[in-house]
């Protein structure tokens, strides 16, 4: 099994890198674990969830088992997980209500996918759009409440930036799913767009790593 996985990883090194890169914020988070806040702890758990849920993809791919259903279910779950972390950061009842509605919509998307009501993978963009909106909303709230001395040293700014960057940049690829990452498309274009998604995912994890690195400054740079 491992041999097949390694072969696959060497064949698609960038996809392998995309799977391994969450280790970077993971280790940075471990290094800064004494400064964990509630939100960073949840993001750390998210990293573990991301990496563990990635393993079945490699195994199934190595055995050439169709994992599309699992892959898209995982994709939607990831976005729901990330959206739930904002419940820690947003304190007002009004904001939390909006967030709960958004999470509910995301869960609905997941349910629609699980029940195969629509073509699988065709509504992946909705969760991206919703999460992108949540991260924009979070920035809006952050700007309304200037309690942070130096935003570049505020960990959740980086986490939110990573999420916003990933959601915004991948929404079009998933929206035009039929022409980009749909299984059965021309292998070159499928791989090309999959690779772009991996590049963007790598970027998000690098930004997360910066956020975890700044955990030390969290208290110092908040009023």
């Amino acid at each position: 099994m491992f041999e097949s996985i390694f072969k696959l990883a060497f064949k698609h090194p960038f996809i392998a890198l995309g799977s391994l890169l969450p280790l970077l914020p993971f280790f940075v988070a471990l290094y800064r674990r004494q400064y964990f806040t509630k939100s960073s702890k949840w993001l750390f758990i998210f990293l573990i969830f991301f990496m563990l849920s990635d393993i079945p993809l490699w195994i199934t791919a190595a055995y050439k088992i169709n994992n599309l259903y699992y892959s898209y279910t995982r994709d939607s779950s990831i976005f729901i997980f990330l959206a739930s972390i904002y419940l820690v950061g947003l304190k007002s009842i009004k904001d939390r209500t909006y967030l709960n509605i958004a999470i509910f919509l995301m869960v609905m998307v997941l349910v629609i996918q699980l029940l195969k009501i629509t073509e699988i993978g065709s509504i992946l963009w909705i969760n991206r759009l919703i999460l992108g909106g949540i991260s924009l909303f979070y920035f809006f709230r952050l700007l309304q409440n200037p309690i942070i001395k130096d935003i570049l040293r505020f960990p959740f700014f980086w986490f939110n930036s990573g999420i916003l960057f990933y959601c915004l940049s991948t929404v079009m690829i998933t929206f035009f799913y039929k022409f980009t990452i749909k299984a059965g498309n021309q292998p070159e274009s499928y791989m090309f767009f999959t690779m772009i998604l991996e590049y963007l995912s790598v970027s998000m994890f690098v930004i997360f790593a910066i956020g975890f690195w700044n955990l030390k400054n969290n208290k110092k740079y908040i009023n």
Binding site: I151, F165, L168
Partner: protein
């Protein structure tokens, strides 16, 4: 299909740029907001400080006015009564000259009345430093030091530079400096076990420098300030200085204590 893919790529690129721009805008706007907030906070603090300064200034002015009223009352009322009493007692002395017991009592009374008159005069003089008002800081300090030297074992030395007898500052500045010197001297007398006090007064570029040093046992400023029961004198000095744009630095040399006071924008009085 190729056309859609190019469009997707182009749109993705635009969204990436948009994402970066949003993040950059958040950083820029947050910093701007935060700086504005800091500026507003500083302005508010400055207004509050100015208000406190004015309040302090008023309270000092009221204190001085009260001292003046008290001095006037003591001098005019009690002093006058004591003078009348003295005159009456003098007549009594003449009348009871034959009776030795009464004569002795009357003489004792006379001594007590003289002492009271002198005491009232001194208190009245201490309350309002007439020499300061009439002849300026140099004379007032010299007079005060002479008096202190007579009543204690401390040697007082006063040096001044760039200040002539004719040079006068605003009443507020002169009175504050004089009261500060009084406070420091009294502190040294009460607590320091010093045998020598040096005072240097220098005036340069509209700034008045004052150095007050004794050779006593010294003290630790943070320790004194941290105890709310102590350090009232020092706090009083700092309050007075804050009104006249002055600063105080307390240094601990090998022996004793050294106060360095700097009063900026000290304009001469025409």
């Amino acid at each position: 299909m190729k056309g859609v893919q190019i469009f997707v790529l182009f749109a993705t690129l635009i969204l990436i740029i948009f994402g970066i721009l949003v993040i950059a805008f958040v950083v820029y706007y947050q910093r701007k907001q935060f700086n504005l907030e800091i500026k507003q906070k500083e302005e508010k603090q400055e207004i509050e400080l100015e208000f406190q300064r004015k309040l302090l200034e008023n309270s000092m002015e009221v204190q001085e006015l009260e001292r003046r009223r008290l001095a006037k009352d003591l001098h005019d009322e009690v002093g006058a009564l004591l003078s009348v009493l003295k005159m009456g007692n003098n007549q009594l002395v003449k009348k009871v000259v034959e009776n030795e017991v009464f004569s002795q009592l009357a003489k004792n009374n006379k001594e007590l009345i003289d002492e009271s008159i002198s005491l009232v005069r001194n208190i009245s003089k201490d309350l309002v430093p007439q020499t300061l008002e009439n002849f300026g800081l140099l004379h007032a300090i010299e007079e005060f030091f002479n008096k202190m030297e007579k009543n204690s074992d401390i040697e007082f030395k006063f040096l001044h530079k760039n200040i002539s007898e004719k040079l006068r500052f605003s009443t507020k500045v002169e009175l504050s400096i004089f009261r500060i010197i009084q406070e420091l001297s009294n502190n040294a007398l009460k607590h320091s076990d010093a045998t020598k006090i040096d005072l240097i007064l220098n005036y340069e570029d509209k700034t008045l420098f004052l150095v007050f040093a004794d050779n006593g046992k010294g003290f630790s400023m943070p320790l004194v300030i941290s105890n709310p029961k102590n350090g009232l004198g020092i706090r009083n000095i700092e309050s007075r200085l804050s009104i006249i744009n002055g600063t105080l630095e307390v240094l601990n040399p090998e022996k004793g204590i050294r106060y360095e006071i700097e009063i900026k924008d000290c304009h001469e009085k025409n």
